[in-house]
């Protein structure tokens, strides 16, 4: 299972702060993103516009970053701290 988390405006728009997902056939962040985007609607809008960022096991990730069973994967908007 992948432990997926959503933060900030992304969380509000998809109305979920996270979920557990089967890792079947999903080997990278990009593939996970595509899988989630297949839900259509706000999922596709948010995950395919290139704006939101991703992290795997609390390290910044790119589309090519591998994901494996048990990983924590987070999606979130560009940061605005400070």
């Amino acid at each position: 299972m992948l432990n997926v988390k959503y933060f900030a405006s992304l969380r509000d728009i998809v109305s979920s702060d996270g979920e557990q997902l089967e890792a079947n056939g999903v080997g990278t962040v990009g593939e996970l993103r595509d899988l989630l985007a297949e839900r259509g609607g706000v999922w596709a809008e948010q995950l395919l516009d290139g704006r939101n960022l991703a992290a795997v096991n609390q390290q910044m990730a790119s589309a090519e970053t591998p994901v494996a069973d048990g990983d924590e994967v987070a999606f979130f908007p560009p940061v605005t701290g400070g």
């Binding site: 405006s9 509000d12 609390q58 940061v79 400070g82």
Partner: protein, 149 residues
């Protein structure tokens, strides 16, 4: 020292804590919630709400501080970032750097802030009379972070 907390902080106390060794130069920065008057119906800014990613935010700040320590010779470094609701005028973030000389202290403090603003997982939400709205990341912040080779 890195702290993420709801409570307010005392800049004078943090300054005193910072000065143990290598204190020829101490530079501190405080970021506060700016007043923002609105001419429109939405109303003036009342407060910011700061969200973070527990676990990742701490690691990201430590990574930024470590990078500063590799670039410059530093004594103490303190980064404090608040989370939760902060009213207009309230304090959000503190960065303090102690070093032997002012060049390093100034540069490291600015570096830490530029990287914090583009790489540390925090997100701001504005509260106005009309409701709440997430703040958008600024292109100028990315440009500032990109200056540091």
């Amino acid at each position: 020292m890195i702290r993420i907390q709801h409570e307010d902080f005392d800049v004078a106390a943090e300054y005193r804590r910072l000065c143990n060794r290598d204190c020829g130069a101490v530079v501190t920065f405080s970021g506060n919630v700016r007043e923002e008057k609105s001419a429109g119906r939405e109303g003036d800014l009342q407060a910011l709400y700061l969200e973070h990613y527990p676990g990742m935010t701490e690691k990201a700040l430590q990574n930024i501080v470590d990078q500063a320590g590799q670039r410059w010779s530093l004594g103490g470094v303190t980064v404090i970032h608040r989370i939760g609701e902060i009213p207009v005028g309230g304090q959000i973030v503190f960065v303090g750097v102690a070093s032997g000389h002012r060049g390093e202290a100034f540069a490291a403090c600015e570096f830490i802030m530029d990287f914090l603003k583009t790489r540390a997982p925090f997100w701001k939400r504005e509260r106005r009379a009309s409701g709440e709205r997430w703040v958008e990341a600024k292109h100028s912040d990315s440009q500032k972070a990109a200056r540091w080779k």
